[in-house]
């Protein structure tokens, strides 16, 4: 300790202040921690911009402040006398400072074009929907300009990924096993760059993210997936809707959102138009349709199945409409049609129980229907190989990955006549239905089962799909969110 009487936490504070000093001071003197803090407080008081306040508050606390703390520090600095400025800053960020668990957090300024929040993918093996988009996208970005980050365990600031976290994000496979490693003790401080949120952040990060979007002077860019928790609130928990509404408080202060479909982009544009009532404009909204890519695993050809296979893929929940498909299939079986219905998807206990009870009762009638939960990739791939048609009459989607997967596998699709699934359907290979009308779904299934010419035409249409893949999507997204 060079004989000086300083605690590790003061040393860490000194380091953090030293890291931001070149941004705020014209000349960085060799000063003690108290002197440096006073100099920085004076500098920010003299140029009291939100970005300066956010930066100083971040360095003092060792974590990102909330918007209320940015306000408190700004007001405190404005009213403080030169001798009380340091104290005003410390008092303003006391809550965040107390939330930082490590006393030895140091800081580094992010030296990249974008800081990319991949927290969920770095901490979880789960790989559906959003995670597939995130993992397939960020792996194609140059690590020199796109710094991947996760939140510290205490939720106060971004850290570089551990080696294990990095593998979970960019080298994911269904069999990958990684051991947890201790997190970095270095807070990442973005200054004048882009912070990217390709995931929908967990609730506990939202207050700090709002302050970054609103006050830090960094641009914030997001991938917009859907507004299902709001538009189809009858199908999600109150907590899910609650989190989404708070997520929108980040959105309204962000710079740009890229919707995964035009439908999703329109949802965010609609939200922007509502913001006029509070004098805000909201972010620039772009759209970039996800690529039409088949399942990762493929399996060799085999004997044709005994019965034509009608396939349904998707999590088991009312929004995906499994019971509507089952009701449609039942009416066809009652008419004497023969085919097999295979429903693939996991879900909550209540929903799965309800579906399986209905399936049991259909099987007692001698009808060929089954439900696969947590099926391995090769079973899914075999189902896509063998299916006569995919049925996907979802009530709302931001995109509709199974539709794209089926089309990329050369399988015709019956899907909803509006929204993102209708967008994908414009490329061909689809029959569009009203998902709220069981009879309409039944009519479409019957057509594609009995009309071989129609089926052949739909299969032929699937071959004309764009061959653009994830690297193209990743490049175009980078342009929209970072360089435009």
């Amino acid at each position: 300790m060079n004989g000086r009487d300083v605690t590790p936490s003061l040393e860490a504070l000194h380091q953090r202040l030293g890291v931001i000093a070149p941004v705020l001071l014209d000349e960085v003197p060799d000063a003690s921690v108290g002197e440096l803090l006073a100099l920085l407080a004076d500098a920010v008081a003299a140029r009291l911009t939100p970005a300066n306040v956010w930066l100083l508050a971040t360095a003092i606390a060792g974590g990102y402040p909330t918007a209320a703390e940015v306000d408190a520090v700004r007001r405190g600095l404005e009213l403080a006398s030169p001798t009380t400025r340091s104290g005003a800053c410390l008092a303003g960020v006391a809550v965040t400072a107390a939330a930082v668990r490590s006393a030895t957090v140091t800081a580094e300024l992010v030296d990249a074009s974008a800081l990319v929040d991949v927290d969920f993918c770095a901490r979880n093996r789960h790989n559906t929907g959003i995670q597939r988009v995130v993992r397939n996208t960020v792996k194609h970005w140059n690590p020199d300009v796109a710094l991947l980050a996760s939140w510290s365990d205490d939720g106060t600031g971004y850290r570089r990924l551990t080696a294990a976290q990095r593998r979970l994000v960019v080298d994911w496979s269904s069999t990958l096993e990684v051991a947890a490693e201790p997190e970095s003790d270095v807070l990442l401080i973005p200054v004048g760059i882009t912070v990217l949120l390709p995931e929908v952040p967990a609730h506990r990060y939202i207050d700090r993210l709002v302050a970054i979007a609103q006050h830090s002077g960094n641009r914030m860019g997001l991938i917009g997936y859907d507004a299902i928790p709001l538009v189809s609130a009858d199908f999600v928990s109150e907590d899910e809707s609650d989190r989404f509404a708070h997520y929108l408080t980040i959105v309204k202060h962000s710079s740009v959102v890229s919707g995964i479909s035009e439908t999703t982009a329109d949802e965010f544009r609609s939200f922007n138009s509502a913001l006029a009532a509070q004098g805000l404009e909201g972010p620039r909204v772009e759209s970039l349709l996800l690529p039409t890519v088949g399942p990762a695993t493929t399996v060799p050809a085999s004997q044709p199945r005994e019965l034509p296979l009608v396939l349904m893929v998707g999590s088991v929940e009312p929004r995906k409409n499994q019971l509507g498909v089952l009701a449609a299939a039942t009416s066809l079986w009652q008419k004497g049609l023969t085919f097999e219905l295979f429903i693939i998807g996991s879900g909550g206990a209540v929903q799965v129980e309800e579906l399986d009870t209905a399936i049991q009762s259909a099987r007692r009638q001698g009808w060929a229907v089954s439900h696969g939960k947590g099926v391995p990739d090769d079973v899914l791939a075999a189902a896509y190989r063998d299916a006569r048609v995919l049925v996907f009459p979802s009530l709302q989607e931001g995109y509709g990955l199974p539709v794209a997967e089926a089309l990329a596998s050369g399988i015709p699709v019956i899907t909803s006549r509006y929204g993102s699934t209708a967008e994908i359907a414009t490329f061909g290979g689809c029959i569009l239905v009203d998902p709220r009308d069981d009879d309409d779904i039944a009519r479409a299934i019957e057509e594609v089962l009995v009309d071989d010419a129609l089926h052949a035409r739909l299969v032929a249409e699937t071959s004309k799909l764009s061959s653009a893949g994830w690297p193209d999507y990743a490049a175009a997204l980078w342009t929209q969110l970072v360089t435009t």
């Binding site: 918007a67 209320a68 306000d71 408190a72 007001r75 404005e78 009213l79 207050d207 709002v210 859907d226 507004a227 928790p229 709001l230 538009v231 189809s232 609130a233 009858d234 928990s237 109150e238 907590d239 899910e240 809707s241 609650d242 989404f244 509404a245 708070h246 929108l248 408080t249 309204k252 439908t263 999703t264 329109d266 949802e267 609609s270 939200f271 922007n272 138009s273 509502a274 913001l275 006029a276 009532a277 509070q278 004098g279 009312p318 019971l323 009701a327 039942t330 009416s331 009652q334 009530l395 709302q396 909803s416 006549r417 509006y418 929204g419 993102s420 009203d434 998902p435 709220r436 069981d438």
Partner: protein
Amino acid sequence: MTDLGTGTRALVRALLPGTSPAASEKARVAQLIAGLPRPTAGESWLLLSVLTRRLPLASEVQAFRRRAAREGVGVAIAASVRSRRSPARWRDLPVHVVTDTVLLDVHDSAFTRLVTGVQRVSRSLADSWMPRGAVLVGWNASRTQLLPIRPLAWTERSRRSPFERRAIVPWGGWFTLPEVVTDVGRTTRIAALAEFSGARSMLIGDDAIPLTTAETTGPKMPGVFSKYLVAASRMNVVACISEAAATEYSGWKSMLASAGLEGPEIRTVMLAETAPVADPAWKSRAEEKFLSRDADGVLPLVLCVGSHEPRKNHEAVLHAAELLWREGHRFSLVFIGGNAWNSEAFRTRLAELRDGGRAVVALRGIDDALLWWAYRLAAFTVFPSINEGFGLPVAESLQSGTPAVASRFGSLAEIAAGGGCVLVDPHDDHSIAHGMRSLLADETLLATLAAQARARPPREWGEYADHVWNLLME
């Protein structure tokens, strides 16, 4: 009100017009089975409402129709009747089918003594619509049945047995919801009623703040509000209380396209703006309560009305005031309004300023009679809210002849267009301070704005209720 009676008799009358109900229960069920081989969603909803004596959820309507398609309507009806055998259901009242009736759901307003903006709307509609034959309704304890509220219980604000001893279900007619419902059991049944009953349904749209400004709402509110919006999405029309509220609801409505939903028509019926009557008997008490003095005499009073929730931006008002006091301006600052969630920082800051000798105080539990005087005694009011559906305190201030400093967008800007206001950016403390300073320092401006405020014509509550009625009847 046309009452078709209860049970299968009412169902035959409602669903098989031209058929007279048979003499026996069994024969009437046979009539229904023969007449409704594939019941529509609406018919299924009414069958369930009457047979199970509970207003069904949309998912129950769907399950009923699927069962009817699969196993026949007779099986589905028999299962619905069986569901009432549980002892827990014996107390459910028989359900009367009513047609051609205006129902006004004022459940919460019937049970509260609060008089917030929402209650004022409910009361004005109820008081003005009852003489036209509208039926006020509330909900049973399990929120499964609609019960008429006895008119006398409503007018006397009696909370003891306010309901009639019968349940009703509308078949056609009109249904209006003037309250923001946070009880999810109730909103989900209202959603199904709006979708299936055939009634022309209307909801009063106050604002969509829990959705657009979630950072300022209490815990859990956005989640509950989302379920309320599901009910809104099934209505025919949302009558918004300002253009700003309509802007929010229109944005929300256009999101519904992604779920293939059309959503309600969004219209605006601007809330009333009435002059609060200041009773001379209360004047001296009000002066004693609200006015402060310094060595030079009575300080100009700056008034800020509203609960101390973050959306009202009271911490910014305190900061702006302190900047002005430091500049040497003479005034006292009085807040009137209850505590709300997250008001600790405001109270702490206010206590610090008081300790520093500033003339600032926060009062709550103030009688309306005193509040009306506070508006009149004030030099001007301050209301830099982040987002408002209407902003009643600004309207009340102006109708009292007192200028207001208000946010420069949304409903406050709409109100301000009629004169008497200084507009500021509520996100900028200096802009708020600038607006207040201009009224403290410029007597001519203050007098001009006060004259503008006094010249504003009032808009009465009866007029508001008439407009909403006409919209419902379109």
